[in-house]
C-alpha cells in the first residue's frame, strides 16, 4: 500500500461496512474489539512504571495494535462507512515503509529516522515546536527566536492568531490568509537567522485542506519534496473524513515528507491506560496505511488535563515507542504537552521527564508545548532548549531503560501533585527580550538552576 496505491485506499470508502454514525460504530465495533485485544494480548500496567523494561509486553502491545487496526478499520465520517485493511495489505505497508529520510537541504540537512530501543548510534531528531498561537505582531520574531536554537533539527512554527486584526477563523478567508502569512514569515525568519533550508513542518495555522493547499508555494510558502514536512490528522478516534484524505492527496502529489498527527485520549473512547496505549500504537499503523504518511507525531493526552506528562501518559509514550521500534520501520516522534507554563520550575520538570522517558525507548522529541495549549504567546524557545538538551543528555549518557525509569520516578515526585493546578507562567514577551530575541537574565538563571537540579539526579548535559 505504498503511495501508488492511494486510489485503492480511497476507494475502500465505497463498499466498507455502513454505520449510521460514529457512535453506532463505537458501540458495535470499536469498544468491544478494544476490550477483546487488551484482554487477549494481556496488556497490563502496574500503575507505577514510567519507562517500560519488559520487551515481551512491548511486543504484545504491537500485536494488539495491529490486531485492533485490522479488526476495526477506520470510520469515514462523511460516508458513514468503515475503511478496512486486510492483514496482507498492512504487512505490505509495514514492509515497504522507508525507515529514514534526509530532510531539509544544504547545511540544514538532517536524517529523520527510526531509532532502536536504547539506541547508542542514532541521535534523536530534535523537532522544536511550541504548538501554540502567537500574536501576529510577534510571529516572525518568535519564529526567529526558535530557529536560533543550536540543537534544532526541524521546526513546527507557532501559529498565527489573527489576520489584519481579524481572528483567523476556520474555513474562512482569514484562515487561508493567515496560513499564507505564517508560511511567508517562516521563510523570512529562516533566511534572517541563517538557516534557509531547515526542515519545517508547515503550516499549523492551516487547519483545513484548502488553507494547506493555498500555503503551498515553492517561491514564498511551503516548499516541495523533502524540504518541508506537513501533517494530516486522525480524528478521534480512528476516524477520518474527505478533508483529511484531500490533505494526504495534496501532500503526496506535492512530494512532502509528511506525517500523521495522532493523539489517543486517555480516558476517552479507548478507556484506560492499557487501551490508550493500544490505540495510540494502532494510530501509527493507520497513518501509514490510510494516508501513506512517512512518519507520525504521537500525542496521547489526558482527557482532563490535556497534557502528556502524567505517569500513565509517559508509560504509554514509552510503550508505544518500544512497540514500534522493536517491530516496525515506522518513523515516529513523541509530542510533549506540558501542564505548566514558561518561567515555572514545574514546566522544566515536565520537559525533563518527557524527554528522558521517551529517548531510551527509541523516541524522537517534539516540543515543547506548554499550558495545556491554552494561551496565546505562552511558550518560549528556552523550555524547548531544555527539553531537547535533556533528550540529548539521555542519548549521550546511553541511558538504559531501567536507569531512565529511576530518574523519571525522581522527577515525577517533583511535579505529580502539581498537575491539577493552573500554573500557566509567563508570556514570551515577559521571558524574552523581543528585540534581541534572547531570554532575560532572570529566566536564563532559572534554566541553569534547573540544569543543575537535573545534574544532581544523574543527568549530565553535553555542554
Amino acid at each position: 500500500m505504498s503511495t501508488f496505491r492511494m486510489w485503492e485506499v480511497f476507494s475502500k470508502v465505497e463498499d466498507g461496512p455502513f454505520y449510521k454514525n460514529q457512535n453506532e460504530w463505537m458501540m458495535k465495533s470499536f469498544i468491544p474489539e478494544m476490550r477483546r485485544v487488551v484482554k487477549e494480548h494481556d496488556i497490563k500496567w502496574d500503575g507505577k512504571t514510567i519507562v517500560n523494561c519488559d520487551d515481551d509486553l512491548a511486543d504484545r502491545l504491537w500485536a494488539a495494535a495491529k490486531d485492533f487496526f485490522i479488526s476495526v478499520g477506520v470510520y469515514h465520517a462523511d460516508h458513514h462507512r468503515v475503511m478496512k485493511f486486510t492483514e496482507s495489505e498492512v504487512d505490505e505497508v509495514l514492509y515497504t515503509k522507508q525507515p529514514s529520510y534526509m530532510v531539509g537541504a544544504g547545511h540544514d540537512q538532517r536524517w529523520l529516522r527510526v531509532r532502536s530501543v536504547e539506541d547508542s548510534e542514532k541521535r534523536p531528531f530534535h523537532l522544536f515546536s511550541p504548538d501554540a498561537n502567537f500574536s501576529t505582531d510577534i510571529h516572525k520574531k518568535a519564529c526567529m527566536a526558535y530557529l536560533k536554537e543550536p540543537m534544532l533539527d526541524g521546526l513546527c512554527a507557532p501559529l498565527i492568531e489573527d489576520f489584519m486584526g481579524r481572528k483567523a477563523t476556520s474555513q474562512s478567508p482569514t484562515e487561508v490568509a493567515a496560513a499564507m502569512e505564517h508560511a511567508m514569515n517562516l521563510r523570512d525568519a529562516q533566511r534572517l537567522v541563517g538557516k534557509p533550508d531547515v526542515w519545517t513542518v508547515s503550516v499549523g495555522t492551516a487547519e483545513t485542506d484548502q488553507a494547506q493547499i493555498a500555503a503551498a508555494n515553492p517561491a514564498w510558502g511551503v516548499r516541495q519534496s523533502h524540504l518541508d514536512g506537513r501533517m494530516v490528522s486522525i480524528l478521534t478516534e480512528m476516524t477520518t473524513n474527505d478533508a483529511m484524505l484531500n490533505k494526504s492527496l495534496h501532500y503526496r502529489s506535492y512530494g512532502n515528507v509528511f506525517g500523521n498527527l495522532c493523539g489517543a485520549i486517555f480516558g476517552g473512547h479507548a478507556g484506560g491506560t492499557e487501551a490508550t496505549a493500544v490505540l495510540q500504537t494502532a494510530y501509527n499503523i493507520q497513518g501509514a496505511c490510510l494516508y501513506g504518511s512517512n512518519w507520525a507525531l504521537n500525542f496521547p493526552f489526558h482527557l482532563k488535563w490535556q497534557s502528556t506528562t502524567t505517569r500513565a501518559l509517559l508509560w504509554i509514550q514509552s510503550m508505544l515507542s518500544q512497540a514500534m521500534s522493536r517491530n516496525s520501520n515506522l518513523i515516529y516522534l513523541n509530542n510533549l504537552f506540558a501542564n505548566a507554563g514558561p518561567g515555572t520550575d514545574q514546566l522544566y520538570w515536565e520537559c525533563a521527564n518527557h524527554a528522558i522517558a521517551t529517548e531510551s525507548s527509541g523516541g524522537n522529541p517534539w516540543g515543547a508545548a506548554t499550558c495545556r495549549n491554552k494561551f496565546t504567546d505562552h511558550a518560549t524557545p528556552l523550555e524547548s532548549r531544555f527539553y531537547h538538551e535533556c533528550s540529548e543528555a539521555s542519548f549521550k549518557m546511553r541511558f538504559d531503560r531501567a536507569k531512565a525509569d529511576e530518574v523519571c520516578q525522581k522527577i515525577m515526585e517533583k511535579y505529580e501533585s502539581l498537575i491539577p493546578t493552573d500554573n500557566y507562567g509567563k508570556t514570551i514577551q515577559e521571558v524574552y527580550d523581543m528585540e534581541r530575541l534572547v531570554p532575560h537574565q532572570e529566566y536564563l538563571d532559572q534554566y541553569y538552576r534547573m540544569k543543575d537540579e537535573l545534574n544532581k539526579m544523574g543527568v549530565e548535559f553535553p555542554y
Binding site: R35, S170, E207, G268, N373
Partner: protein, 231 residues
C-alpha cells in the same frame, strides 16, 4: 454491623420489598455490564409483578450518577459510560410507557449541544451529553460542524434552556462568538444560557465574547449548569 447482616435484617423485616430492591440492584448491575436484553426482561418482569416503575427509574438514574462520579475520578472510563448509557436507553424503551408524571417531578431542562462549524472534534461534547443525561437533562445533540443558525433553530424548536458550544481549535472558537452575535441580533440573548467549552477556550475568552458559562471540563460544566438553572 456488616452489610450481609444488615441485608438479612432488612430482608427479615420486609421480604417482598427486599426482593424488589435486590431485583432493581440486579437491573443496575446489568445496565453497567451492558446486558440490555437481560436488563429489559427483568424490568418487564418487575413491572408485571407490580413494582413502581419510578422506583426502577430512580435506581437507574442513581447508578448513572455514580458512574459519572467514578468517571470524574478516572475509576471508570468513557466506554463504561457509553455502554451503560446505551443500555439505559434500551431499558427506557420498556419503562417509558409505564412512567406517569408524579406531582414532584420537574420537567427536565433541555440543553442543545454541538461542536461548532468547521470543527470535527466531538469527544468532549459527547462526554457532556452523557453526563447531562446521567443528571436528568434532556439533551439534543447536533453533532459536529454545526452552523450557528442551526444551533438557534434547534434551540427554538426544542424550547431549550441552554445551548452548549464546543470548540477544540483556535480557528473555530470565533464561531462560538458568532452564535452569540446572532442571538443578540435576534433579541434572544437572554432566552438561553449560552455555555462554551473546549481545550483552547478560557474564562477570559468566555467573558470577551459574552458567554454565560464557561467550564474547564464536562464535570464542572454539569455542576455549573445545574447551579445556573437551579436544578
Amino acid at each position: 454491623m456488616d452489610s450481609h447482616y444488615s441485608s438479612f435484617i432488612r430482608y427479615a423485616n420486609n421480604p417482598i420489598k427486599e426482593d424488589v430492591n435486590m431485583s432493581i440492584e440486579k437491573v443496575r448491575q446489568l445496565m453497567v455490564e451492558g446486558e440490555g436484553e437481560s436488563a429489559s426482561s427483568l424490568v418487564q418482569e418487575l413491572i408485571d409483578k407490580g413494582t413502581d416503575p419510578h422506583e426502577i427509574m430512580d435506581g437507574l438514574t442513581e447508578e448513572m450518577a455514580i458512574l459519572g462520579e467514578k468517571f470524574e475520578k478516572f475509576e471508570v472510563f468513557l466506554p463504561d459510560l457509553m455502554v451503560a448509557g446505551d443500555t439505559f436507553m434500551q431499558i427506557m424503551d420498556v419503562l417509558k410507557e409505564h412512567l406517569v408524571a408524579r406531582d414532584t417531578d420537574r420537567v427536565p431542562a433541555t440543553v442543545v449541544i454541538g461542536t461548532v462549524k468547521g470543527d470535527y472534534h466531538e469527544i468532549g461534547k459527547n462526554i457532556v451529553g452523557i453526563m447531562l443525561q446521567a443528571n436528568g437533562f434532556n439533551v439534543v445533540d447536533l453533532g459536529v460542524d454545526v452552523d450557528p443558525v442551526e444551533y438557534m433553530e434547534q434551540a427554538r424548536k426544542n424550547n431549550a434552556e441552554a445551548v452548549g458550544l464546543s470548540a477544540l481549535m483556535t480557528t473555530t472558537m470565533p464561531n462560538q462568538e458568532e452564535f452569540i452575535k446572532l442571538l443578540a441580533e435576534a433579541g434572544e440573548k437572554d432566552k438561553y444560557l449560552v455555555c462554551i467549552g473546549g481545550a483552547p477556550t478560557s474564562p477570559e475568552w468566555s467573558e470577551r465574547i459574552g458567554a454565560d458559562l464557561w467550564s474547564f471540563d464536562a464535570f464542572e460544566f454539569v455542576e455549573k449548569l445545574k447551579a445556573a438553572l437551579n436544578r
